[in-house]
Amino acid sequence: MTQQTQLNIELAHAEAGMRAGHAESLTRRSLRHLLRKRIALLCLAVISVFYVVGAFAPLIAPYGYAQQNLDLSFQGPSLHHPLGTDRNGRDSLSRNIFAARTTVIVTLATVAAGSVLLPVTLGMLAGYRGGIVDAAINRTGEILSSMPGLPMLVLISATLRPRFDRWVVCVEDGIHYHGLTSSGFADYFLIFFALSLFGWVGGARLIRAQVLTLRRSEFILAAEASGASTRRILFQHILPNIMPIVIVGVSASLGGVAAAEIGLTFLGVGIQPPHPSFGALITDGAPRTVLQNHPALLLVPALTVASLIFAFNLLGDALNDVFTSRAK
């Protein structure tokens, strides 16, 4: 098929869509353009593999993440342990796979709250309501963003951890299910909470600015004039137009959240042992004696994390390109 005929077919499809009354949305069209970029596809592939492996970790990993065999400590790669074992004789491959699960849980939860729910709600509120609501949200954001993030996160985790732990035990007693504490639920929740608390500011600002411009546009005025309810205007008219910002924001923050969890775990306030996280694996592999004799224990988690974040960054770039050039 030549390029020309392909183009014609596409045009025909687009026309058919318009006639049918549902012109393709900006978001859909931009995402379709994204899928034509080879780098973007490659990044999506890397990210998907990582997330599938993480999500199905218990099925894929050959061993448990805490399963020790002290006879086999610091083994090199072998058929039984493709990436060798660590100090406690735990299978390195399995620990990396379970660490991916930690990253998957933390990034998805944090991004859902800190890059979608909070910024969209607060940004739309601030931009559409204006007045004192706008001022309150803006000032809160300004104060949060002028605090030094990392020490505050460390302080919050150090203070809240015992309380969360106690709270989780209470919940366990209430629902008569006793797997929550051992699943490390409190750690995940704490990281999610602390990162979302500081994470929403940038996104909310961008969305607010966009809502401010949209408010004065003709189609919103028309909707208001025809008596549409505030809810209808916000969700039917404004929300679809801020989707590009939300999508770009999500892809931009995923890498940062993954890195933040690793950093917090390294500082001892993130995921607690024996639960695996790339932060814990890197910390275990970083001491000089370990590093000199068993570099794989650092390099495998380090390269995995670096390529994941690299994929996020490249994808974020591609998304940004697609949306900013299409929006014009």
Binding site: G149, A259, L267, I282, G285, L291
Partner: protein
Amino acid sequence: MDGLAGYILRRLLFLPLTLLIVSFATFYITRWGPGDPVSVYSGQYRDQEAFDRVRHKYGLDKPIIEQYGIYLKQIVLHGDFGPSFRFRDRSIPDIIAPKIWVSARLGVYAFILTFLIGIPAGVFAAVKQGSWLDPFVISIFLFFQSIPVLVMVPVLVLVFAAQLHWLPSGGFDGVFSKSMIIPTIALSLPSIAGVARLARATTLGTLNEDFVRTARAKGLDEVTVISRHIARQSLVPVMTTVIGLSLVGLIEGAFFTETLLGIPGIGRFVFESVNGRDYNVILAIVLVITTAFVLANLLVDLALIVIDPRIRAGRGVR
């Protein structure tokens, strides 16, 4: 410039309010937590009577709100940050000033390296726009940005200290020593991508300007056109914006770099203070960093206003 002066004044007036709220939040969070400096200091087998006496002496047995009131009064009336619980014979400014000085010198090194690599790389990428070199150069630095500092430092130590024995594996002995090289690289590599991109974008904006065409028409060689006419135009906005913006990244990076390499800077000291529950020191450091952030952001905004008159006109009321 009346509007501009008013704008600066309003921003500066907001600073004390920010500091007030940040200090209260930090104060509350630190003291709310389990453990206090006296219990860290006295350990497991303590004399209850002495424990209570010391707690009472520092006012730690009062309600948190009351403690905050006392703290606020002292700091506003006497400029006194209160006692440090770990170093009891020294005042807090005396304790943290040398640490900040170490970190600041490291930060300046990192800034310089970031610009020395980032700006030429960005200008180069812009000039080569359309060829494979443009995305290639940017991607390389994007890759470095993707490596957490936490990973970068051990790898650099492994290669340059453990294997090649070129550099020391940590510590700090002055600005003109080899011990500065690894931390400087680790701190600047992640921020080069941002500088390079900004330099690329501003350069692309000037590539087709009239004065560039004039320079070419005069018969200047390409190197002079790029270095004298194009790069100089993009240098100023990039510098001012990035200095403010990357201050945050630099401080965050310093926490890990200093901890991993055993550099006695402020980043490492924060965590030692958190572990020792040294309330007043933590609070003082948080307040210093917050002030630095606010002032840096103000400077960036001012620089942008000075550079781009459109922002000045369109700013209006905030």
